[in-house]
């Protein structure tokens, strides 16, 4: 799955640590999502969408598989 989390975070000038704190997850989790190594659960994806005030499908899009 691809996502635009890094770009959205950069727009707000937040570090990975700042975003992790806002979402109540670890910085490593943010890093894993941004690099595409981990796909978040639906509840976390909704929290991300709510935080950035955008629909989930505009942040996450399915990859090739």
């Amino acid at each position: 799955m691809n996502n635009s989390l890094r770009a959205l975070r950069a727009q707000r000038d937040w570090s990975q640590g700042d975003l992790a704190e806002r979402l109540d997850v670890s910085r490593q989790t943010i890093n894993a999502i941004e690099t595409g190594k981990y796909d978040p659960s639906l509840p976390l994806a909704f929290r991300i969408a709510r935080l950035f005030r955008q629909p989930i499908e505009s942040i996450f899009e399915p990859g090739k598989d």
Partner: protein
């Protein structure tokens, strides 16, 4: 549940390990000389208390983890359960076949918990690396990982030296020396790894 930071977890589990080693050195040797059965049982089970505290700390840490951390904990615990189950099964069969003496089987059973913790730590570290993090071996707990291993290994080596000068039994001495050597080997591996990575850019924080 409040999240236990790596530093808090490290400090508390280190304190528990210090208590455990102290109990093994000062209290446990008196087990064989105790004649009263309740006192013998009590003395024999004293080392279990700090281990129970470590298990409780681990449970607290896992429950306070986020979803990715819980996944890596689950992978580590699953692999550790498999390794310790196979080890116990092998020891059980060899014991039942009278390949080992009863004393040797008891000593092997003492290794089930450390083996489980070692497998859990190693597999979790490997799983976390696959997701781009260093898990418990990162430097976020304060001291660099190699320094933590170096301190723990040196402390155990000093304890082994103390035991040697105080005529400690060969099993305990071997156990301490083996653990010290293992930790110092880890310190060397992580030290070399850190030295080789000194030129690489650090992860974003």
């Amino acid at each position: 549940m409040t999240r236990l930071t790596a530093r808090q977890y490290g400090r508390r589990s280190t304190a528990a390990m210090v208590v455990y080693v102290s109990v093994m050195l000062l209290v446990w040797p008196q087990v064989r000389s105790a004649t009263d059965l309740p006192a013998k049982v009590l003395l024999a089970l004293v080392p279990v208390l700090p281990m129970l505290y470590v298990v409780w700390l681990m449970a607290r840490r896992i429950l306070g983890s986020d979803e990715l951390e819980q996944r890596t904990h689950l992978i580590g615990l699953g692999a550790a359960t498999g390794v310790s189950a196979v080890f116990s099964l092998i020891c059980g069969f060899l014991g039942a076949a009278r390949v080992f003496e009863l004393d040797s089987i008891a000593m092997l059973l003492l290794w089930v918990f450390p083996l489980q913790m070692f497998s859990y730590g190693t597999v979790r570290w490997w799983a976390a690396r696959r997701y781009g993090s260093d898990a418990g071996c990162s430097d976020e707990g304060g001291l660099p990982a190699y320094l933590r291993f170096l301190i723990a290994g040196t402390l155990l080596a000093l304890t082994a030296l103390w035991g040697w000068s105080h005529a400690m039994d060969s099993t305990g001495l071997g156990l301490l020396a083996g653990m010290a050597a293992t930790l110092l080997l880890f310190a060397l591996i992580f030290g070399v790894r850190r030295w080789r990575r000194r030129g690489e850019p650090r992860a974003e924080s």
